[in-house]
Amino acid sequence: METRLVVLLVEDDPDSVSDYKEDIEGTIDVIVIAVAPPADLADLATAVNQHNASAVILDELLQQRSDATYLGIDALEYLGSAFPGLPLDILTNYPHGPELRGRKLYVDNLIRKWDFDDNEAFRRAYLQKLYERMKQYRERENEHRQLATTADAVTEEFVASLARLHFDTDSGVEKIIWVRSCGVKQICLIEVNRTALPADRVEAFRFAPSKDVPFPLFITDVRPTEWERIQNGEMALPEGWTLENALTFLRPDIS
């Protein structure tokens, strides 16, 4: 099984791809997988997932030989939000180009092509630093995966991490109640969400076990007023759910 870390190279110029691949793989112990920029940014994110990339290097002007509807800086912002902590860098000959002006781009993420191509010391130093960033990112990712895959019963630590993810995902979620009466082989969550649709009964969706959450996961969104009715016993929970021994997680910024 291949264990080397993967650099995803997003480049629309086939001639440049082989040069960069040779330079990078000749300097650090990684595999470079090159992809032509897909038309949609969501498909680029899918490529990051598919290849389990630990870093992405983007050309800035991606639209010259591809159907891409975005620039490298757009992709950097999108992927930065989708993959927090993933090393992302832009290669460009035009670091002061108008498309980059006014965009939040750290100098560390901007690599001048002529430095990379012609200055071996620069290239070596940059790639060594990138390799360290990749290893750190992969270690953090592996820790999270290990937490998921080694669990054979639901733990408070695991549900707490899931709750944090859900707070991050949906700003409407105010608190999450872990219904522990569901048992240790599945997770049942009542998520108090101020943007939930009104309902006259509590309906939970069950999601099958996955790589990240290796347990059946039940989620129901209820409005704050409905949560009050549930606590008062005026609104019934699904069969087998009780609030006895339930644990409440509060949104970190409102707790």
């Binding site: 899918t46 997932n49 939000s81 993810l165 949906d170 309906e203 969706f205 069950r206 990240d212 989620i219």
Partner: protein, 164 residues
């Protein structure tokens, strides 16, 4: 099992909708009707697979949008699509308004207004048949967000057992 039967019927609605769209001269309301029924049954199938009460679910018309609202928090859906949570949230946020528009095509939710099945009376007193109405959601479905929604519906239909 009820959930399986609902998925089967949703799939049949989807396939019939495709036949309808390929039929020359067929009014758009018929495809929208099959699309609305597809999503309604798919949402109900998800609730049934989740252990919901059959009699209560039978009368619900809002299950699909409810599903979409929690979809980003579904690890199995994320795994199936190869998306992470932020990607799926962004995807769902884009398609949600169109899904709500499709849901409202059900006569029970249309509040005696435009729906894909029965004539209605406008506030000005005109009687309109769905067959001659220009549905705004049809335009939405032609946009990239609409195509994304259709793609998502198909993926959920095709991978129902892996997701729920």
């Amino acid at each position: 099992m009820w959930a399986r039967a609902y998925v089967e019927q949703a799939r049949s609605d989807w396939d019939t909708g495709k036949v309808v769209t390929a039929t020359k001269g067929c009014a758009a309301c018929h495809w929208l009707h099959y699309l609305q029924m597809t999503t309604e049954k798919l949402g109900k199938a998800a609730l049934l697979r989740s252990g919901g009460d059959l009699e209560a679910i039978k009368t619900s018309h809002k299950a699909f949008v409810r599903f979409l609202r929690v979809a980003a928090r579904s690890p199995s859906l994320r795994q199936m699509l190869g998306y992470n949570v932020q990607q799926l949230k962004a995807y769902v946020d884009e398609v949600l308004p169109i899904a709500e528009g499709i849901e409202r095509l059900a006569p029970a939710l249309a509040q005696q207004g435009p729906n894909a099945e029965y004539p209605w009376e406008t506030p000005a007193g005109a009687i309109v048949a769905p067959a001659s109405h220009n549905f705004s959601v049809l335009e939405d479905l032609r946009k990239p967000q609409g195509r994304k929604l259709l793609r998502l519906i198909l993926r959920v239909l095709d991978n129902f057992d892996a997701i729920f």
